[in-house]
Amino acid sequence: MRMTLLFTAVVATCASSAYAADTPPLQAQPLAMAPGAGTAAKPAFAGNAVSSPKLTAAIATRNDDGTLEVGCVEKPNPRAGKAPTRTPLPEAQ
């Protein structure tokens, strides 16, 4: 799928070049700045994202006869007290 997306992007880029030869690019219009926005209009946000408080773990128990019994448990996520595992970092300002 990643390859597919890359290919699509290449096609799009090529097609864009052809299109651009015929049609002048649009020129974007100014955007208002929110109070205190600084130099970039995009706000610094983290999208309400947090790490999951739980993870799930498959745990095996070995019986006396050598057989395994496997169950799944919810456990506290050791990363839950920290920033999200994949932190949506504040946007570059």
Binding site: A12, P25, M33, A46, K54, L68, T87, E91
Partner: protein, 818 residues
């Protein structure tokens, strides 16, 4: 008589800019043909559009660019605001902000790059529908960018893969169990083919098996949105008798509320995993939530296998089984079955109600700390919120006939924690079978019909007997005989052989079983979705019972391309308890009041200054105010759950979450004050008199800066009641307010003007109101001929008086939108 638009404009000149219905600029896109756009720093294009016909099942919108940070926004049916909608009365263009565009959007992709993508299908929450889809792209960066925009409808829905990230290792020296070792994926130890897995090295067999596992899931989920799972190993240890085989979780959770809109999430104020957010939003998790998509940041699930499995000291050396065919042995661990099970948890098959007694009350819902990075089950600063898994669970009565929602309506004090805890420990019958311990059907049941009516459901009988049971051992702490077996509460099924059974079965099939329809209820459905519906607020006075005395005068003034147009006055008290007002103007978009920028500093909630000589008001230079009101699903919000509103909820009264904020001019700005209030209408439209004299009145363009709203309520035999909020300026030019009330209302009869001498600040504990009379207002309102409408006002204030004698007044309010 002036036309409504001219009168409206005159009023606007009084209070600031009002979005008009001027024609908007639009750029037609040719399907599949890129449009190149040059973006300067902090610029945008609004309302490129693509017309979709009824044969389309999928629409893919891509932005591919370099430089800057271009983000993508999409909505159906009505356009985004553009510069043609900006007023010239109070602010010169630009008048569009990032926040405003985001709030108009129904879908967005806003990663930190300029490469964005959105996929909408006929199964999306706001489904692909024939008609015009509008696209806005913003470069919110201080750097310029060049990007191409492409929109491609399709008559088929593509199926995407679940990709695996076998790279991006990490080392955690203090806790090795949190490391991500990727070397085992390339272990060159020779291996014999097993169960159809052709790998000739241990590393290849491991990779093949995991790829097979996600392939099975992808084929059964048929998601049009690609997701990526980070695949890791770590030394998770173990003993001769017990060991963790693998663990997994989604990489983050989030919810949507007024602070961060994601309208494609079916449930507001509800936790979703990032996999569900990306799936429903048709984008990447970074596109949905912001941030980088590069490398490990683009992964939505992380699964970690125990690299100690198979070593002599752990489980007697019992290894993983990497075959594609099910493992019938009871002496090894089926890698594929375990991977499918754990990754399915990461896809959102996880209830968040607390199951850890050390983390807070059992059954508690999850909230967060103010830093918004820590989930907690107690002493939270924000929340708590339901989660989408728990929203489909019910607590069945012992009679097996009645049942109640697992979450349902409750207060923040969480009186239902105990009930949830009881349901989560309701399965106290143990059966030992050849393949492990089994628990009897429980009182913790899954009620969504997609699973109940699924062929995978083994439960039978009349509801709720046919609701699938969820695993609920008798003792959540697993310390008593009935629950010595491992296996968690809440997030597992019970029926034998099911992939998400709390216990692995020898010969476990590769079918998802109940997990498929259960996930479908949580955002993974591929069935065509009905058209989205949104709340429809109405004109009138709205207030929060927990902040009585403050409120919103919310006045419908017309309809245009962008939606229903409202004028809003936030009547409140300042820090000293003195009356003050702020103003806002904007549109109700998909059930959300989205304000326009009307302040010189970009504010959407503005303090005005009244000039008694010029007889007009203008916005002050700096207010730092913002406001938004979301009328969708407000009853589920923490704001509305802060006090008992069951009477309003049960009566079907529309509620809204009013989010207001004031910031300073620092960069980034410091928040000076903010609040989320739960508002409800003082009266409903059905209570209005007929003919209805209600509306929003002012003195015309040559005598502006003041006005009043009228509620005209039918009180039966008592006559019609007029409740009036009067807005004007005090001697210093500060906008203030007073109220008047007449029952029955009689034209020409003076009505006392009352003002609260000692109110209370927005963050203060309510105090008893102390109204004092400051004058009178006398109205002559003629429903049959509004040209006869007049008012006489005598309001006495410290330092001066506000007086008008029999002046013509104009009603710009409209009783109700079409």
């Amino acid at each position: 008589m002036m036309s409504p638009r001219i009168r409206l404009s005159a009023f606007v000149a009084t209070f600031g800019a009002l979005v008009s219905s001027a024609a908007f600029a639009a750029t037609a896109l040719t399907p599949g043909t890129p449009l190149t756009v040059n973006f300067g720093a902090n610029t945008l294009i609004t309302n490129a559009y693509i017309d979709v016909d009824a044969s389309a099942k999928q629409l893919t919108v891509n932005m591919t660019g370099s430089g800057g940070d271009v983000d993508l926004f999409l909505r159906y049916g009505s356009p985004f605001p553009d510069t043609a909608n900006c007023s010239t009365a109070a602010t010169a263009p630009p008048c569009l902000s990032y926040d405003m565009i985001q709030r108009y959007a129904q879908y967005h992709s806003m990663s930190s790059s300029s490469n964005e993508s959105i996929v909408v299908t006929n199964a999306s929450t706001i489904p692909l529908t024939a008609g015009r889809w509008y696209i806005t792209a913003i470069n919110g960066s201080k750097s310029s960018a060049t990007a191409t925009l492409t929109a491609t409808p399709s008559t088929t829905v593509a199926t995407a893969n679940i990709a695996l990230d076998f790279g991006n290792p990490s080392t955690n020296s203090t806790d090795p169990t949190q490391s991500c070792d990727v070397a085992p994926w390339s272990d060159a130890t020779a291996a014999s083919a097993v169960g159809g897995n052709p790998g000739t090295t241990l590393g290849d067999q491991r990779k093949n098996a995991l790829q097979y596992a996600v392939q099975q899931l992808a084929q059964q989920l048929n998601s049009p949105v690609p997701i990526t799972v980070h695949a890791c190993w770590a030394h998770l240890g173990g003993t001769a008798t017990r060991a963790t085989l693998a663990h997994a979780s989604s990489t983050s959770l989030a919810f949507t509320d007024t602070s961060f809109p994601m309208p494609w999430l079916a449930k507001r104020y509800t936790w979703y995993s990032n996999t569900q957010i990306a799936r429903m939003g048709g984008t990447t998790p970074c596109g949905a939530l912001g941030g980088s998509c590069v490398g490990v940041d683009g992964d939505v699930v992380e699964i970690t296998f125990n690299s100690d499995i198979g070593t002599a000291g752990v489980l007697g050396g019992s290894p993983f089984y990497f075959g594609y065919t099910p493992d019938n042995s009871t002496n090894s661990s089926d890698f594929i079955a375990i991977a499918m099970h754990e990754i399915t948890h990461g896809l959102g098959f996880l209830g968040l109600a607390n199951t850890d007694p050390s983390a807070g009350p059992i059954g508690a819902r999850a909230g967060i700390t103010k830093s918004a990075t820590t989930v907690t089950y107690q002493n939270y600063d924000l929340g708590p919120w339901d989660d989408v898994f728990g929203d489909s669970i019910v607590d069945v009565g012992a009679d097996m006939q009645s049942y109640t929602p697992f979450f349902g309506y409750e207060l923040n004090s969480q009186p239902n924690n105990a009930a949830r805890a009881a349901a989560m420990t309701s399965g106290n019958t143990v059966t030992t079978t050849s393949t492990g311990t089994r628990f009897a059907p429980t009182l913790l049941r899954w009620s969504d019909p997609l699973a109940v009516n699924s062929s995978a459901n083994q439960a039978t009988g009349p509801a709720p007997n046919n609701f699938p049971s969820l695993y609920a051992p008798c003792d959540v702490t697993k310390t008593t005989a009935c629950s010595t077996s491992v296996g968690s509460t809440l997030s597992h099924t019970v029926q034998q052989g099911d992939l998400m059974n709390a216990f692995y079965n020898a010969g476990q099939s590769r079918m998802m079983g109940l997990a498929q329809p259960m996930l479908a209820a949580m955002g993974w459905s591929n069935a065509p979705a009905p058209a989205a519906t949104f709340a429809k607020p109405f004109t009138g006075i709205w207030y929060d019972r927990a902040h009585s005395g403050h409120g919103l005068d919310f006045r419908f003034v017309g309809h245009d391309d962008l939606g229903d147009n409202y004028f809003l006055i936030f009547y409140t008290y300042d820090a000293s308890g003195a009356v003050e007002i702020f103003q806002s103007q904007g549109h109700v978009v998909d059930g959300v009041y989205v304000p326009a920028i009307i302040g010189p500093d970009g504010s959407t909630l503005v303090r005005m200054h009244y000039d008694p000589v010029a007889k007009k008001a203008t916005p002050v230079a700096v207010t730092g105010g913002s406001i938004v009101v979301d009328f969708n699903q407000a009853a589920n919000s923490p704001a509305c759950r802060a006090i008992d509103r069951s009477a309003e909820v049960n009566a079907g009264l529309l509620l809204g979450v009013l989010s207001w904020k004031f910031v300073d001019q620092s960069s980034p700005p410091n928040t000076l004050e903010q609040g989320d209030w739960c508002i409800q209408p003082l009266t409903t439209l059905a209570q209005n008199a007929s003919p209805d004299l209600g509306g929003l009145y002012y003195g015309g363009s040559s005598d502006s800066g003041w006005g009043f709203s009228v509620l005209d309520v039918n009180r039966g035999s008592q006559g019609n009641q007029v409740a009036l909020d009067f807005y004007f300026g005090d001697a210093s030019g500060k906008p203030v307010w007073a109220v008047a009330n007449a029952l029955p209302f009689v034209n020409g009869q003076p009505i006392p003007l009352m003002q609260n001498a000692a109110g209370y600040c927005r963050s203060c504990t309510p105090v008893k109101q102390n109204p004092v009379q400051i004058g009178t207002i006398t109205l002559n309102l003629d429903a049959s001929n509004p040209a006869n409408d007049t008012a006489t006002i005598n309001a006495n204030l410290p330092g001066g008086a506000f007086v008008r004698n029999n002046v013509r007044i104009y009603n710009i309010g409209v009783a109700q939108q079409p």
